[in-house]
């Protein structure tokens, strides 16, 4: 089990290190590698087509031009998206919600993970199972009661009620925390107990130890877990659709993108440009932490 764990933590995109000298020398078979390149191209194609179509002039798209390149790239579609539908505002809304969720849910999940790994108490295993099960709850099914719950919140405190970004932040915190706890648990558990004892001997309080020693040590895990929260919040379509009913100015990007869908006369250039704007932040985050990803997943399921 330990060998599995250590090697699973190796960076996935650079597996050619001399970790296991005797192993898997890549065969110099050109055919196999050619197929590999073709598969990679097929997988990448939808994304390429998205960027390409966003850059094609509207006239070319409308005329049904489907050449796989363009000699006259234009930013018209981006301009159309940003001006016509207030996309900038939606982008900011999405960003505010996602970043708030990342900070708040990661902080709470980290503290909970500390409690669940570094302390032994009666309910520990029960809680862990509950948290695992909580991950499986189909959030879509909870939309109906949550709608009424936030309607009630709104009557008391408008900022966290329907039509406000607060409702989206809260609801995504609820859904991000279980997975974040599960994931951070592995990272927290990996910090040797001796460190804690040493800190205690030096007179550090428990919270001091958690904040100044433990937190920096599990930072990689925190980053990976943040990315998950960020992406799931950023991509959310269901709650943005359900909770933001009338306040258009508080809508988020997925909803804005949908406003470009019109029966039989889709402005594909604008839709693709909007998609590019929405995909880029996620792509950047993903690439930035992809090395931590597998170890994070492994930590989430093992630990």
């Amino acid at each position: 089990m330990t060998t599995l764990e250590t090697s699973i933590k190796a960076p996935i995109a650079a597996p050619a290190r001399q970790r296991t000298p005797s192993t898997k020398k890549p065969p110099k078979n050109i055919g196999v590698n050619l197929i590999g390149v073709i598969i990679a191209a097929v997988v990448a194609f939808p994304l390429y087509w998205m960027v390409l179509s966003a850059l094609k002039p509207k006239t070319a798209l409308d005329a049904g031009d489907s050449t796989p390149w363009t000699l006259t790239p234009s930013l018209d579609s981006f301009a159309r998206v940003l001006s016509v539908n207030n996309f900038g505002q939606y982008f900011m809304n999405s960003l505010i919600v996602a970043l708030s969720v990342v900070v708040l849910s990661t902080a709470l999940a980290f503290l909970a993970a500390v409690a669940l790994t570094r302390y032994t108490f009666k309910m520990r295993t029960k809680l862990l199972i509950i948290i695992l099960v909580a991950q499986m709850v189909p959030i879509e099914a909870l939309t109906i009661p949550l709608f009424f719950l936030f309607k009630g919140f709104g009557d008391a405190i408008p900022a966290i009620g329907l039509n406000h970004l607060g409702s989206l932040i809260l609801v995504h915190m609820g859904f991000s925390i279980p997975f974040a706890i599960w994931m951070l648990r592995g990272f927290v558990a990996a910090v040797p107990i001796e460190l804690e004892e040493a800190a205690k001997l030096d007179g550090a309080s428990s919270f001091r130890f958690v904040r100044s020693v433990l937190f920096p040590l599990v930072a990689p895990g925190v980053v990976a877990c943040s990315v998950f929260s960020f992406i799931s919040t950023w991509n959310d379509f269901l709650f943005a659709k359900t909770f933001i009913i009338s306040a258009q100015e508080n809508s988020t990007m997925p909803m804005a993108l949908l406003t470009f869908f019109k029966p039989d006369q889709n402005d594909w250039g604008a839709i693709m440009a909007g998609s590019v704007i929405m995909t880029i932040p996620v792509l950047i985050f993903f690439i930035a932490v992809q090395r931590k990803l597998v170890s994070g997943l492994a930590g989430a399921v093992k630990g």
Partner: protein, 326 residues
Amino acid sequence: MSTQFPVTAAPSLQDEKPTAPLMRKKRVSGASRVEHWLYLAPALIVLIALLGYPLYQLINMSLYDYRQAQVSGSAPLVFTGLENYRILMGDPEFWTVLRDTVIFASACVVLTLLVGGALAVFASRLRPWVRTVLFAVSLGAWATPAVTGSAVWLFLFDSTQGLINKVLIGVGLSGFNDFSWTYEKWTAFGLVASEVVWCSFPFVMVTLYAGIQAVPTETIEAARLDGASLPRIFYSIMLPMLRPIVIIITIQSIIWNFKVFSQIYVMTNGGGIAGQNMVLNVYSYQQAFAASLYGLGSAIGVIMTLILLVVTLVYLRLLKRNGEVL
């Protein structure tokens, strides 16, 4: 910004703090007795308020005749027991949706595992730079938001401007002139499934690849020297050793694919022509928010939750049998 606020505002609704059971515990020194509950409390309060309570309410609402009139208060709220479930059981549409959900989700799971598994094995035979490229683009597909992924695939398969139809016509299949992929029920499901597989196989591939790398090389070398073929090595050696990982990714895939919402909603415009592309998720949503049948929608939600709960329990059992410790 006025939209940001301290989230601790929510806990005030929840005054029960789970500190009580621990007080009974002896042999614990004073300070550390409550310490872990202090660390746990914020997360638990959020989870109770935003997962536990809504789950309870979901079950509760499914037992009432809860429609627009009851929401606005113009009609009294009547407890109807299992009436909503009885309505569903007698509704052929519900059974169609349930069947379609199972077919759609199973197809997605099988295809995701096949594509991801095959590519994970294939990747170990590639040169490092080819493999890096393959993994990088797969991560791109994985990271693509469901809504934008759906938009791109919809565009590729658009009846008039889509590339796929143009290519098919180009190779002489004139039947694809103005062919609409979303008009027929199963072509629409197929289109959605393709997008789902495209963005979910990378998870399987990356996880399995890491697992394969962890299989001791000596074992594989020995098998190879004994003349075992690559598929044979995969089935007889790697698969048994990868069992824990395979279980995890299978269950995760089942759970994810059972819950697909955005893709169906965006690509079939809310469940397809006359609701032909509904899955349980979308069905529940439409019953509640389009037809204002909140009680009935909740009942569908409960059924869905129960199905996923069974899957989860199987998952826990399998994990336990593998000797995982919690």
